[in-house]
Amino acid sequence: MGGTFAEKALGRSVGRTLRANEVVTVEPDFCMSHDNTGPISRTFKKIGVKNVWDPKRLVVILDHGVPAPSSDHAVNHKEAREFMREQGAPHFYDVTSGGGVCHQKFPEEGFALPGQIVIGSDSHTCTYGAFGTFATGIGRSEMAAAWATGQIWFKVPESMKITATGRLGRGVSAKDFILKVMGDVKSDGADYMSVEFHGDGIENMSISERMTLCNLGIEMGAKNAVCPPDAKVLDFIKGREKSADWEPIWADPDAVYAKEMTYDLYDIVPGVAKPHTVDNYAAISEVRGTKIDQAFIGTCTNGRLEDLHAAAEILRGKKIAVRTVVIPASWNIYREAMRDGTLDALLDAGCIVCNSGCGPCLGAHMGTLAPGEACISTANRNFKGRMGDKDSFIYLASPYAVAASAARGEITDPREAIGL
């Protein structure tokens, strides 16, 4: 009997063969935290340990409220800065043009590596599965404990295998696929599980698209989500690696799964998650014409260059009908989009472009919503009131669909906007 990705990746870490439901203690290769580093450092100090187990394994990227929207945020940033200095920890990404959203910067900087174990004090840490990394979100206390001991316990998860064949049609994106999957699996359907994406449909996808898939693993309850570490991954990480101790690992063909599902990507149509749950799926045709007040293109889910290109493809030469906030997921992406004319196209259309960071995704700043307002967003959560007032509404969709909807002021099938 072969192993699943999770069994093999955790097994590699402990040096023996593992099966689902065993409990193991592993040493994480990297520990990612963001603005919550300050509070974690306070908990860490309570343990009574002076130094973190390995300062080179800490990666801290400020993104949740940057630049600080309040003095409380500023205090958290200050504590993070001071702690990293005290610990002599080198991997600190402050509020500079070298920063961005943590889940974008972490792979860009070469910390997401095949076969490694990454823990992050943010639920969307599962994004790094796009690089064949076993990556999962944890809480603050647990991160403080991992810093102190260099260890964390896991139950080896059972696995769900999602196979995709074929290719997505024009105007349809990886976001539409994963919204459909979330609608089928439901928000707790992969609770505690490792979600594996298989098939030529995944191989056909770019790294950016695979990050979108893995990013949303947590929205089905998954412990982690992962794509095969193929040539595209190896090509991406080449020259960026922040560690030499990695190894491409993938599930064996005879691995045992708790659940298996198959999709033909030709069948996927533009979709949305309606308010207020991520699994409230509808094909876009069902909600076409719904009035919106704001559009948002950005976040760790869909703020990459390809996503901005998709939005610009729709909006070039048009004018937006509702306010549209664009936030590139990192400053590297920001600059590339600036150089290749993408930002100009979006600005010409009337969009505003804000600095890299999480922005309004979690209601901190840069586009929060008033009572009764609806926003169509490329983000990952549409929980009630997440982007502002409790009586506001969030529709999750692809960058194509968000841009097409921004141009009309109502939810629009992007295939109409590109003349299909």
Partner: protein, 177 residues
């Protein structure tokens, strides 16, 4: 004979996400003692929870309680309010780990999601909960429910009062000092 906890039920549905429990606009708050005032502010019909919850009251919920963010605020705000245990059909992975790591029990209760939908357990019902056996009696409605016991490691961590006190008591290999 194990200890019996008695209190009123506050009843919630399925998929109670972390923004409903503790909204992200209060994330910059870092002192757990200040967190209960924001509990369930965004949950329709439970805006009064923070004001009216009494120490000893129970949170009763359906499937997937605590889905979403990794914020520990969503555990602290209930623990600090004096809610002694969460009774839910299932709970998200990160929420569950955060609860255990803070010495805060969650009982997984089979059938409670449907019982909530059927009105067999309602706001204000008086409950008796035995953590040792996982038995829950609704003395208002007359129903009885059964929760799953936790694993040994989880029990050890909770018995220490959470992960940080557990580590202090069991300082072992790998500690960086």
């Amino acid at each position: 004979m194990s200890e019996v906890l008695r209190g009123r039920a506050w009843v919630f549905g399925d998929d109670v996400d972390t923004d409903l429990i503790y909204h992200n606009k209060y994330l910059a708050e870092t002192d757990p003692k200040n967190m209960p005032q924001y509990s369930f502010e965004y949950y329709p019909g439970k805006e009064n929870f923070a004001r009216e919850v009494k120490r000893g009251d129970f949170v009763v919920a359906g499937k997937n309680f605590g889905c979403g963010s990794s914020r520990e605020h969503a555990v602290y705000c209930l623990k600090e309010a004096g809610v002694p245990v969460i009774l839910a059909e299932t709970c998200s992975r990160i929420y569950y780990r955060n609860a255990i790591n803070n010495g805060y029990p969650v009982l997984f209760v089979k059938g409670i999601s449907q019982a909530i939908k059927d009105g067999k357990i309602s706001d204000g019902d008086l409950l008796e909960v035995e953590l040792e056996t996982g038995t829950i009696r609704d003395t208002t409605n007359g129903g009885t429910f059964h929760g799953d016991a936790v694993s040994d490691l989880e029990r050890d961590i909770m018995a220490s009062g959470g992960l940080i006190p557990y580590l202090k008591a069991n300082k072992k290999r790998g500690a960086g000092d």
